[in-house]
Amino acid sequence: MIEVKDLSKSFGAVEVLRGINARFGKGKVNQVIGKSGSGKSVLAKCLVGLHPPTTGEVLYDGESFQGMDKERKKLLRQEIGMLFQSSALFDSLTVMENVLFPLRMFATMSESEMRDRAAFCLKRVNIEGANSKFPAEISGGMQKRVGIARAIAMNPKYLFVDEPNSGLDPQTSIVIDNLIQEITEEYNTTTIVITHDMNSVIGIGDEIFFIHNKQLWWQGSRDELVKSDNQELQEFIFAGSLMRQVRTAMGGR
């Protein structure tokens, strides 16, 4: 479980997040939604310590990240898997080497076991036959999937995925959503998914966090989301017409 207490973040004079309090449960797919530029990626980076929060703290299973020393942080980070919005694959390494990278750095297994593990992760994200290509030679959607494979290589306890579906076709999108859900259940990870994709929210979201106006504006389950009367939330989710149909079908206004 990851807990956020009174977290604020400003860049210089520009305030991006204000007073966020939230609990991201273990074994659940926690989804963070919000408009473009609302601070979702910044929130994720504050959670993993890439941006120091201006105020507040982040607790990993009760332990304050801000209170940890450097060595402890490094150990914790070996339990974190993260897909960046930009994928952030190492472009001097092949697809295979990218997934092997965390294993080579930290895993205690033989070279062939590492290769098996990396191949297994790539297979789970439906990447086959591209193992020796470089990131520049594959599509953006494939890069995302390789990024996910790299994030899950070390069997993380905490999984962060920043917009896994952007740039993916609807079919692959569902495959990736299902994968995220499976991993979360299988390994009981604390999963935080940042997304714009309402299909994904309806598909796999256990708990939804809506960031609006720099704050955690609304929080609730999938069903509560659909029924919510919160004006800003409605405006956000019903911008896509499919959601309106779902709402009508479920007897909402």
Partner: protein, 246 residues
């Protein structure tokens, strides 16, 4: 104030760079790759410059200070001294700062702006060490070889120019090269070279590592890497010359 800030942050970065690597094997593999990328690939430009520089020094010496009062060995001697003392270790290092320094800053800078350094940090990898340490070790090992090759080729270039154009006899040139030779100057040159190599790798690594923004800033970092490496090399050259030769 900002200068102090950069100096402070530079040394803090060095502290990170020299902390214990996660996996020696991974670091070593990277070092070998860097030796190829930063060293072997500079061989061509170093060879070309050195041959021509030696040739020009020989011709200049002969035509500018030739008189019956000047001994026969002056051309070879001058080429040797200027090559070993300054041309190869200092000027070639400045050239390498341009070539290698900009490569280092551009590579690390673009990794920074494309979140690849964040990706390293998030895995628990010491990103500064992983990216910069192999480059320091690679340049510190390979640059002395480049500089020795440069010394040889510069002196050889002087011989070619002098003898082929008929302005000096081969035996006189060689006698000049051997005249009053103190091997310490080679040691001095190699010490300088290693120091300059470390300066190039760390100053450029620093510029790349702290790049903020986008591709435009990567370009700026890359230029800064060359300028600051050059300035620091010149200052270090002055200090080392005082320290080692006086």
């Amino acid at each position: 104030m900002t200068l102090l800030f950069h100096i402070g942050r530079y040394f803090m970065l060095l502290g990170e760079v020299f902390s214990k690597p996660e996996r020696f094997r991974v670091y070593w593999r990277r070092t070998v790759e860097e030796m190829e990328l930063l060293g072997v690939k500079s061989l061509g430009i170093v060879a070309l410059l050195s041959l021509f520089m030696g040739a020009v020094i020989a011709i200049q010496t002969k035509t500018n200070i030739d008189s019956p009062l000047i001994p026969f060995y002056v051309v070879g001697f001058t080429v040797r001294q200027s090559t070993i003392l300054e041309f190869s270790p200092t000027i070639i290092s400045l050239i390498l700062a341009g070539k290698v320094g900009s490569t280092i800053a551009a590579e690390i800078g673009s990794m920074r702006v494309r979140e690849q350094i964040d990706a390293l940090d998030i895995m628990g990898v010491n990103s500064a060490g992983y990216l910069i340490l192999p480059k320091i070790i690679a340049t510190a090992i390979i640059n002395p070889f480049l500089i020795m090759i440069s010394m040889f080729l510069s002196i050889f270039g002087g011989w070619m120019a002098g003898v082929l154009s008929g302005i000096i006899s081969s035996s006189n040139y060689i006698a000049g090269v051997q005249w009053d030779f103190d091997p310490y100057i080679v040691t001095y040159a190699l010490i300088k070279t290693v120091v300059f190599a470390v300066i190039i790798a760390t100053v450029s690594g620093y510029q790349g590592y702290y790049t903020r923004g986008g591709t435009r800033e990567v370009g700026i970092s890359s230029t800064r890497a060359v300028v600051y490496s050059d300035v620091v090399i010149l200052i270090a050259n002055y200090l080392l010359t005082q320290l080692l030769l006086l």
